[in-house]
Structures are given as C-alpha cells and as structure tokens.
C-alpha cells in the first residue's frame, strides 16, 4: 500500500505534531496537579489552546478540548438548553445521531443546505432554537453557506453551531466573521493525532457538560486532559495555518483528476461541481460501477480511497448526503471519494487514474 487518498477519513500526522507529542509523552504530570510536573503539563495545554484558537480566529478562552469531533458535536448539540434544533440533512452522523429529534433541512441538488427551507423553518421558531450547519461536507467537500445561515438564524434569535472538522486547515477559518456561536474541530483530520478535538464556544453560552467530574476545561468537559494529544493538536493547528496557502492549491490536482476521469469516462458525475468546494475533495460516481468494486480494485493496486464517510463504511447503505442531493440509490452506491492532503503529490493522482482506467476498461469489456 502506498498511495493514500483518504484524508477526509484521517490524515497522516505532521512531523511538527509528532515532535510536540513526543515531548509531551515524556512529561509525567497531570495538568491539574499543582506541583512542578503538573504546571509543566498545564503550560503545554495552554500553549496548544492558543494555537488551536488561532487556527479558527477565536479567543483561547473559547476552546474546550474534547476527545474528538464526535464528542464536540455531541457536546454542542446536547449541552445547550435548546427548545428546538434544526440541522442540515448533510451533517455528519455525529450531529444527526446526537439529536435524532431535530428538524432536518434538506440539501439542494448541488449539495448546499436549502436556505429557503431554513428560513421557512425559522419562522416563528421558539426562543432557544439551535441551528447546526457544517462548514464543508465530508463526502462532497461542498462548502456550505454558513454566513447566510447565520444571518437567518440571528434574525430569529437562534444559536448556530458549525461543524468545521473537514474545513479547518483546508480553507480560511474565522469564527468571528462567520458569526457562529459554537464550532467543532478535530485534530486528526488536519495532521494532528486521533483522540483530540475541540469545541469552540463563547464563554457566556449556557453550555452544560456532557462529561462531569473534576471540573476541567472550565467545567465544560471533565477528565484528565490528553496532554500529548492536545500538544499534538496545537502543533498541527499551527502548522496547518502556515501551510494553508499550499493546501488551498490542492484544487489544481483535484481538478486535474476530475478532468482526466471525465476523459476516461464522460458519464462520470462529479458531485457539487457547480458550487464552491474544499480544494482537496472529489466525489465522483459512474452509474453501474459499484463503489465496492472500485474500492477493491483500487486497493489491489495500492490506492486508498473511500466510499462515503469512514464511520458508516461498515454499514452497506447509500450515503445520506448524496441521497439528500437527489442521487438515485444506484448513483449513490457508485460514488467514491478522493481526498487529498498535506503530503499528497501529483504521482498519487497518476496512480489513481491509471488504476481506475484499468478497472473501467475491464468493466466495459465484461
């Protein structure tokens, strides 16, 4: 196995993050202890908090470290005393399953949240309504009109949560100008370690903790801090911010892939092609060529891509995102996701195209 094109599932760790973690793993202390080792651990955590805040254009005091994006989304959606919750139908499962009772706002065929439907749902909504719209979709990379959603929500007096797990480090991120009240980040999607994430939230929000205990993280998240994970997250966030101009240019490679695959097979559909997308993500389908067949053939050729979101890969069911965009079960079942990242090189796409071309020709011959 050599070619990894599944960065939206997880990214290999950045060397800067690994160095920070190796240092932190050598620290014996608990950050809540008052002795020297405890205070050294505390300093590492506060430095990381500032680095993570900087990536999102937020104040360090807004950052609550969690075990990852899923926990942060559960904390955001379960922690506020919301009387009504509205979520976009394309949200990650960690949003949809955290609040199964939430109202779902559909997607347009291009993969963006339907703002007219959101406006209609917000009409006469009670106080303490919470709206959750992700910044970019994990399967299609489609960037959501979060600022427009915020404008609608604010007019209705609603809070807004934004899952920025896939967008962070790939497009500029500024929580203040987005105007959202809560924002979710994950370390391992941007070259940090798995097992660390954060919920950024205004300190004055009435956010109840999901995990209760020792009162860590300003009483928003109990539990001994994952020191090495947090240090690695901080370093990855800082590096990702510095590396952002380079990652924003991954769309050249991605567009090259989409052009070439359409030359191989003109009937390939590219999801979300008509709207702004993350520079690293391509979601393509050729009706009649099942995703499982493609994944198997590509894996044999040493190329790793995915079908849909990693966590639901175990279940064989069509993607809820593509279905919400109006894709038929056949089309959704044929979709593969190619996602690039900080260590991707043009040869990775060459290998993918060669392997996919072989598969396509075999399928036509059969």
């Amino acid at each position: 196995m050599s070619v990894y094109l599944d960065y939206n599932a997880t990214a290999p760790i950045r060397p800067e993050a690994l160095a920070a973690m190796t240092g932190a793993l050598a620290e014996p202390g608990n950050a809540s202890s008052v002795h020297g080792p405890g205070r050294r651990a505390r300093r590492l955590i506060e430095a990381a908090r500032a680095q993570v805040a900087a990536l999102a254009g937020a104040d360090p005091a807004w950052v609550t470290f969690t075990s990852g994006g899923t926990e942060a989304n559960n904390l955001a959606l379960g922690g506020l005393p919301a009387r009504r919750i509205l979520v976009s139908a394309g949200e990650h499962d960690s949003v949809l399953q955290a609040v199964p009772q939430a109202g779902r706002i559909g997607l347009t065929p291009d993969g963006t949240v339907d703002l007219d439907a959101l406006a209609a749902a917000l009409k006469d909504t009670p106080d303490n309504t919470l709206v959750s719209v992700m910044l970019a979709n994990n399967e299609t990379g489609v960037i959501q009109p979060v600022e427009a959603a915020v404008a609608l929500a604010q007019a209705a007096g609603a809070w807004v949560h934004c899952d920025a797990v896939q967008a962070a480090g790939k497009v500029p991120l500024d929580m203040a100008s987005l105007g959202v009240d809560l924002l979710t980040l994950s370390a391992h999607k941007l070259g940090g370690p798995p097992g660390a994430g954060a919920l950024l939230a205004r300190p004055d929000l009435p956010l109840n903790p999901l995990l209760q205990g020792g009162g860590q993280e300003r009483r928003r998240r109990a539990g001994t801090e994952n020191l090495a994970g947090i240090a690695g997250f901080g370093a990855a966030a800082e590096t990702a911010l510095e590396d952002l101009p380079r990652l924003q240019k991954l769309d050249e490679l991605r567009d090259h892939f989409e052009r070439e695959i359409k030359i191989l097979a003109p009937d390939v559909r590219v999801f979300g092609a008509s709207v702004p997308r993350l520079p690293n993500t391509a979601c393509v389908a050729l009706a009649g060529l099942p995703a499982e067949t493609q994944l198997m053939a590509l894996d044999l050729a040493g190329v790793a891509v995915s079908s849909g979101a990693a966590c639901s890969s175990g279940k064989v069911q069509p993607s809820h995102v593509l279905t919400a965009m109006g894709a038929s079960p056949d089309e959704a079942g044929a979709a593969i996701r190619v996602s690039l990242g900080w260590a991707s090189v043009p040869e990775d796409i060459d290998c993918l195209l060669a392997a996919w071309g072989d598969l396509y020709r075999r399928s036509r011959a059969a």
Binding site: Y4, G23, S32, G195, Q212, G213, S306
Partner: protein, 409 residues
C-alpha cells in the same frame, strides 16, 4: 514548541539529567497520573506515523491495518480483566467511562429502576454523574463509609432494592488507596438485580481484577493510571447476562453503538501494551512497590512523631500512603517541598483549597484532613528516591512544626 527537541531523546520522562529547563525532582504522585512506560510509547509510535489509517475505513488496507491493531489492544486489555474483547468499550478515559456507566445504566432503566447508589468517597466524576441523575429525577443515595474508608456492607444491603439500577463503588480509592470488598458488594447488588459498576481506574494493574470472579457488571478503566497513554480508557460491559446502557456520545455507531467517534489507534495500541505489561509484571512490581512503601513509612515514622495513616492499614493498594502530619498544613508542606511531587487530595480538585472530601468522609477532624499528604509510589521510583523523599519530608515537617510553635509563642 521550543522545548520539544530536547525532550525527544527521553521518552520515559523519568531518568532526567536536569539539563535545560527541567528541574530534577521526585515524582510520588502516581495516582494522579503515571509516566507513560517507554515500552508503551514505542508500541504506539508506528501508529502515529506510517500506520496512521482510520480503523473504521473499511475500504482499504490502511484502515484494516489500523483496525487489526485496535482489536489487538482491546484483546490485551480484555485478557487482563478476564473479559472478552466484545465486552470492552473503548472511551476517552475513566471520567467518560464512569459517566457512561452510571448515567447510561440509570437512564436505560429509569422506568423500573429509578434508584442509584454510590459512596461519599467515590471519584468526583462518579458523584457528579449521580447528582446529575438526581436533577433528572432519579433517586440517589450517597452512602457514608466507615472510618477506615471501607463500605458498610450492612448499610449497603439495606439500601439496595429492586428499584436500584446501578451501584457504583470503586475498587481502590484514589486518595487513601483502600480496597473495597468487591465480591461481597457484587453479591448484594445481584441479590436485588442491580448492576454493580466498579471504577477500576486506580486498581487496574495494581491488584488482580477478574470481572467474572468478582461479579462486576461494568468496570471503568483509565490508560494513564497504569503507565499507558492519556486520552484513552475503557468501560467493561458484561454480555452474559447482558448489561444495557444508553450511550452518551452518538454518531457513527462505533463500539457497538455505545460510543461513537473515530477510535484513536495509537492510544488503543498503547492501552493494550500497558495491559500486557501489567499482566506480566504485576506480581513482582507489587512486591517491589510494597517494599518501597514500607521504607517510606518507616523512614518517616522513625524520624517524626505525630504521624497517622489515613484509611485501612492493610486493605490498601501497595503504592499509596496517605499520611496526616500533626500540626502541619499540607499546602505549606507542599510549598516547602518544590522538588517532591506529592498531593493533598485528588489532582482534579487540587487547585481548590478545600480539605479533601474523602478524608472528611472518614470523619477526620478538619485539622487532620488539612494536614494530610498523599504519596503514591510507582513503577519508576527507586530506593534512592524514597530515601531522599524521607529526608525531605521529615526535614520540612520538623521545620514547619518549629515555625508553628515559634509563631504560637
């Protein structure tokens, strides 16, 4: 971060030469957290770097490789507690496991069993979970303990009823180290059909914990309390008869739907490696640590009078010494010993200047509670360190007592 480069060469964090900015010191706070064993770090590292796949990626070899590593770690942990891998739910740590076990069991059974029982000396995250349930309308009994820190079994038996969903009692106390009679507690719970949840965070790797033999239905585990990494833990959930829980964290449906979220492969590997080391070395290590503890206690009591042990004298974990120094304030003592990492209470509450609620629950006078220090000896402590700690502690206590009596005159 600037200091990382010089730390890199010393993954154990213990044998430090004091170069650069790191002050040399003696770490006797192994119940707050333990240094990660270098063998654990070594096992983890490849899964941060070249074997970085998402274990839930079912479509390619990177994912399968990670999944296999996670399952190996799960199996190593299961073997240490006499469980099967299918009974181990991986979490972010013992705080999450305790929240999941107590809230999850109580909420699942809220209709027919609205009652929860725990002890006044449990960890904060157990007590806070119980209080949260109380606010939701559950009936909660937080029972007092005996002066030696042990549960009163008669009182427990009189409290647990057919309405009790879960009884949460820790195996080993984090402050005073006493070991609770787990098999007896289990019998009382099962007599009434209640689940027995045991917070095993301070016990795992230190005393044998066989969930089948002890009759434990739910057990919380923390990686960093037994030389594994921080950020990982587990909840043992019995399958036969099946224990039912409501999840706390929903999403991709990982961990049999009980705990969603991408599993951190390197941390799962580290947890497994720590478990395997504990299984192989626990007996020898316990004897060694026990001897160090005796050396520390005898050294201190030979040099000082007015020293008392908090908690049961025999039924306690090998590394723990919780000592009250008459006429001394623990905070002042800790300030006088900057090179000695000990604590006056549990780490999460140690920024607060209240006397320990655990010591208060033993019925100790406030002055004795305020004069108590917890030393927790661990895998990487040496005899020489214990001897230095004895000298430092005895000297500091004597000085503080002199200052105190001079001030009194």
């Amino acid at each position: 971060m600037a200091q990382d480069a010089d730390n890199k060469a010393r993954p154990d964090g213990v044998q430090q030469d004091g170069a650069n900015r790191r002050a040399p010191g003696i770490y006797l706070d192994n119940q707050a957290t333990t240094p990660t064993d270098p063998r654990v770090v070594e096992a983890m590292l490849p899964f941060f770097t070249e074997r970085f796949g998402n274990p839930h990626s079912a479509g390619h070899a990177f994912g399968w490789d990670a999944e296999e590593a996670v399952e190996k770690g799960r199996g190593q942990l299961a073997a240490l507690i006499g469980a099967t891998g299918r009974e181990v739910i991986l979490t972010s740590g013992a705080t999450e496991s305790n929240n999941l076990a107590i809230k999850g069991a109580a909420r699942f059974h809220r209709q027919r069993r609205p009652h929860v029982v725990t002890l006044a000396t449990e960890h904060k995250c157990v007590l806070e979970s119980a209080r949260a349930l109380e606010r939701e309308g559950h009936r909660v009994d937080i029972l007092p303990v005996q002066p030696d820190g042990l549960v009163d079994l008669d009182l427990l038996a009189a409290t647990v009823s057919e309405e009790t969903a879960v009884v949460s009692i820790m195996a080993v106390n984090n402050e005073i180290g006493v070991i609770q009679p787990l098999a007896e507690i289990s019998a009382i719970c099962h007599d009434k059909g209640a689940y027995f949840h045991c917070d095993g965070a301070q016990a795992l790797g230190k005393i044998p914990l066989d969930v089948a033999a002890l009759g434990i239905d739910l057990m919380s585990i923390s990686g960093h309390k037994f030389y594994g990494p921080k950020g990982i833990g587990a909840l043992y959930v019995r399958r036969r008869p099946r224990v039912r829980l409501e999840p706390l964290i929903d999403g991709g449906g990982q961990e049999r739907g009980l705990r969603s979220g991408t599993l951190p492969t390197p941390l799962c590997v580290g947890l497994g490696a720590a478990a395997e080391i504990a299984a192989a070395e626990m007996a020898v290590e316990t004897a060694r640590i026990s001897a160090l503890k005796t050396r520390l206690l005898e050294g201190i009591t030979e040099r000082l009078s007015g020293v008392a042990l908090n908690g049961h004298a025999e039924l306690r974990v090998a590394g723990n010494l919780n000592l009250a120094f008459e006429g001394v304030d623990a905070e002042a003592l800790m300030r006088a010993l900057p090179r000695l990492a000990v604590s006056s209470g549990s780490a999460c509450t140690s920024t607060a200047v209240e006397p320990s609620y655990v010591l208060q629950a033993l019925g100790l006078e406030e002055a004795r509670a305020r004069g108590s220090i917890r030393s927790a000896i661990g895998r990487f402590n040496s005899e020489a360190e214990i001897d230095q700690a004895v000298e430092a502690l005895a000297g500091a206590v004597a000085r503080l007592r002199e200052e105190g009596s001079a001030a009194a005159q």
